[in-house]
Structure formats: structure tokens, C-alpha cells
């Protein structure tokens, strides 16, 4: 029963991701509809970051805040590669967490 249920959840999720790839035709650039679609990536990602980053560590919201600030600074101030931004920001988050723990 649980197996069927999990499969059902999987099928629903898959169909949401798959059907648009099947049915959407590639629209000509500069169409009105696709202008709205162009805005979506940025809108989705922004909505995912906030408030998610404050909730990532429910006990210590400051952990996410520090990781976020370090990431923004690294991207803005210097041309640090993506990998470096992630490593340094997460390191910052871990330091904050350790300070809180001890």
C-alpha cells in the first residue's frame, strides 16, 4: 500500500516535469507569452531562496543568514568561481553553527 502511494507521488511529480516538455512548442523569441516565461527562472529562484534560507536551520536561522551574506559578498566583490563561493559560504555557516553549539 505504502509502495503504491509512493509510486503515485512519484508519478504525479514526474508528469508535472515531463508533460510541458512534450506539449510546449518552442515559441518565437520576443513573443508576449514568452516574455512572461523569461521572467520565471529569476522569480522561482528568488522565491525559493527567501524565506527558505532562514528556515534551513530552524534552531539557528543566523546560520543561513551568514551563508547568504558571505555568498552575496563573494559574488559581488570578487570574481570567485561558483565552487569557491559555495565552499567558503558553507564554511562560514558551519563556523557560526559551531559557535552556537559550544
Amino acid at each position: 500500500m505504502t509502495l503504491l502511494l509512493i509510486m503515485g507521488m512519484g508519478i504525479i511529480t514526474f508528469l508535472f516535469r515531463f508533460t510541458p516538455l512534450l506539449i510546449t512548442k518552442k515559441s518565437e523569441p520576443r513573443e508576449k507569452g514568452s516574455r512572461l516565461l523569461d521572467n520565471l527562472p529569476l522569480a522561482v529562484l528568488s522565491a525559493l531562496i527567501i524565506p527558505g534560507i532562514f528556515q534551513v536551520d530552524a534552531e539557528t536561522p543566523f546560520v543561513g543568514v551568514v551563508a547568504g551574506i558571505v555568498a552575496v559578498l563573494l559574488v559581488l566583490v570578487k570574481k570567485v568561481p561558483l565552487f569557491g563561493v559555495i565552499v567558503v559560504s558553507v564554511f562560514g555557516a558551519i563556523c557560526v553553527k559551531l559557535i552556537y553549539l559550544f
Partner: protein, 238 residues
Amino acid sequence: MTDKIRQVKRGFIDSVPIVIGYIPASITFGLVGKALSLGNWEVFLLSALVYAGASQFIGAKLLAAGTAAPIILLLTLIINLRYFVISMSFSQRLNRDTGSIFKGLIGFGLTEEVYAVSMMSEKNRRQVRNHSIPYLLGLAFPPYAVTLIATYAGILLAGYIPISILPALNTSLYVLLIALIIPQLLGSKRNIAISISAAISSWLLDPYLGTSTVLVAMVIGAFVGNCIQDEKIRSEVV
């Protein structure tokens, strides 16, 4: 042939930041699933079949609470509706003549992070207008493989490792998204408006809408962006 291999390799390389994020996230999922006293295979299958980040956690909680099946399915529908919009937006970058099997494989692996990297990274926008299939498979496969392995590791490690440090590691998923969007915001009023309006509506609506917040917030952000003219950037983004 060699070109295809090169494309797959480029996908692998671009998937590294996602992989780094999915390792702690999936270990956390394994631990949390076990802590909710779900069976090993239930936890694993949620990762293997649903493969959808946050909604896996919600699914695990609902299963553990013994929620009725129709309600679980209905909630899955509501929470994951955002993938429909994400996939619609992503389909603009996919060649029309792509085979259905490849569309299926890529659709299955189209998580938010895979979507983010494929739409946002500077390199991708410059080099390819439409993504090649080998590149997309190379980008989508490692995150899935790592999710399976790390979920399994989390299940095995349940009870042995303290859960308290994992959230700090999970910040990497958000850092990845931040690093991808900041370059888009520089010098574009329109993009700033999209980002800020989506973020603020998401923040304000979260206590009321819960899991469907992202869906509403992204639509608000997209419409706000349509009200703002930004001539210079238009030509670059598409």
C-alpha cells in the same frame, strides 16, 4: 561522437555544485526519514521515485503520520505544481525534435537546482541557445545518482551521527541559487524588480500558504517583471 562526450563532460562539470548540495541534503533526508520511524525502503523510494527535495520531507512526514492516501496525493499535487511551470519555462531551451525518451529522462531529473544551473549560468547562456541532450543528461544524472547513494548513507548512519551540523551544510543549496541569480541582477532594474517582488511575496505569503507559496510568489514576480521596461538587458537574457 567526441563532441557528444565533450558535452556530457561539460554537463558533469556543471553538476558539481548541485552534487555538493545534494549530499548533505540527502543524508539529512535519510536521517529524518528514519527518525520518523519509516521503513528503510520507504525512505529510499521517496528519494528514488519522487526525487523532489522539500516535498520528499513533507511526504515522509505525512506517511509517518498515517495520513490518508488521497490527501497525501492531493498535497503532492499542490506542492509540486511548481514543477509544471518550471518545466514549461525550461522547455523553451530544449530542441523541439528531442526524442520522447530523452524528454522523459530529462524531465525526471529536472529539479530546481538542475533547472537553475541550466537556465542561469553565464556560460550556458552564451554558448548554447538550446541545450544539447548529452549536456543535459550529463548535468542531470550525477545529482540523481548522488541522491540515491547519500539517502542510503543517511539511512545507515541514522542513530550514529548528530543531526545538528547538517543544516549548516544544507545552506549550500541556497548559496548555489544566490550565486546564480546575483549576476542577473547587476544593471537590470527589471530583473531586480522580479527578484525582489518574488522574494518579498514569498516571505510574506509563507505563513499563510505554506507549501504552495513558491508557486504564487513566482507568478507574482513574473508579472511584476512584465510591468518594467529594461531595454538594454532584454537582448542579453534571451
